[in-house]
């Protein structure tokens, strides 16, 4: 009977649901990096320990700049594979957490939620990053603390203002450890915009410049 044969042929295309299983070696991975590393790459290895082929139909990342790469989507029993997750830090610092939810064929619910944790340890802290005065305020100096963090020694080479009407004076409390910047406006009679560039010597191959924002509104 042609109908029977055709239907059976069609049915074998449908994924087998029973006996499908992936075992994930390390679904949670922790890293410590510096901002200059720019990104971290985590390899989430898995193996098909079930009795039928498993197809990964899609992944969903928690929002953010994480890409997930998969060589192919279907794995036969006994076959191993890995999802390579690359997380670009951008200007993010501190503890970061990105999750990747993996969905397999035949299951409506997610198969696993992969957890990628990175502590992007910033070597240098500028606090606060913004100083402002309202028009008519007393043009008093405002203080900004610059501190080396996470065991780094960061030397401040200079602090320059982009606007001559907003002056910046650098004071060294402890070389390579702590500095202060005194920001003083010439006057607060009108709106002003200024950026203070803090030049450092770290990292040696590409020293970073930090920005302090000053506004008179």
């Amino acid at each position: 009977m042609p109908f029977l044969r055709v239907t059976l042929a069609l049915l074998t295309c449908l994924p087998a649901i029973a006996g499908a299983e992936l075992r994930w070696e390390q679904p949670i991975q922790d890293f410590q990096r510096s901002p200059e590393d720019k990104y971290v790459e985590a390899r989430f290895a898995f193996k098909n320990v079930g009795s039928s082929p498993v197809t990964i139909r899609r992944t969903r990342s928690s929002c953010g700049c994480t890409t997930a790469k998969l060589a192919k989507q279907t794995y036969v029993p006994g076959e191993s594979g890995e999802i390579v997750a690359k997380f670009n830090f951008g200007s993010r610092t501190g503890p970061q957490r990105k999750t990747i939810t993996v969905f397999t064929e035949g299951k409506e619910a997610p198969d696993v939620v992969l957890d990628l944790r990175v502590d992007v340890q910033q070597p240098f802290v500028v606090s606060p990053g913004l100083v402002f005065w309202r028009i008519g305020d007393e043009p008093v100096a405002k203080l900004i603390q610059l501190t080396s963090a996470n065991g780094r020694k960061v030397r401040v080479k200079s602090v320059t203002s982009t606007n001559p009407r907003v002056q910046a004076k650098l004071q060294t409390a402890e070389e390579g450890e702590r500095y202060t910047v005194l920001v003083t406006p010439a006057a607060t009679d009108r709106k002003e915009t200024a950026e203070l560039r803090v030049e450092t010597d770290y990292p040696a191959d590409a020293p970073r410049t930090y920005t302090i924002y000053a506004r008179i509104k």
């Binding site: 109908f3 239907t7 449908l14």
Partner: protein, 152 residues
């Protein structure tokens, strides 16, 4: 006779599939809450509807799926259920194709050049297969009723 068994298996199988698909769009078993808002956001991702229309669809469509699925399993309002599911599937294929044509990333609701991109050909292919199976069941039903009327 064997053909009859296969047809029944198809009917019950596809009916069950739609019941399950509808239920998970109504209730999120993982977090124990309503799944409607998440579904509305998914619909919104296709950028074919207004937000209000997405909410209405997110509330109504799952129940259509569940009832049509039940109708298939219990063979009640059978023809209508097949027509309904054919229509729903056709609309879904059209939406997927539209999203594919516009290069939409519908897999991540938020911005994030993340994820394996939704495999459009695969997803569309699966639903075309489903459409074909539904069509097959409908054709069988037509043939059966024509055959029955010829016996009168």
């Amino acid at each position: 006779m064997a053909g009859q068994i296969v047809a029944t298996l198809l009917r019950v199988g596809i009916g069950g599939l739609f019941i399950f698909a509808g239920v998970v769009k109504i209730w999120d078993f993982d977090t124990g809450g309503s799944a409607t808002q998440a579904f509305a956001l998914e619909i919104q991702n296709y950028q074919l509807t207004t937000w209000t229309a997405s909410i209405v669809a997110a509330i109504y469509l799952p129940w259509l799926e569940v009832l049509a699925g039940l109708a298939l399993v219990f063979r009640r309002l059978y023809t209508g259920a097949l027509v309904m599911l054919l229509a729903l599937d056709a609309v879904f294929i059209a939406a997927l194709s539209s999203a594919w044509a516009r290069g939409l990333d519908i897999s991540c609701g938020c911005f994030g050049r993340s994820d394996i991109q939704v495999n459009y050909p695969e997803k569309i292919g699966q639903n075309v297969l489903l459409l074909a199976l539904l069509g097959l069941l409908l054709w069988l039903e037509c043939r059966k009723s024509r055959h029955a009327s010829r016996l009168d």
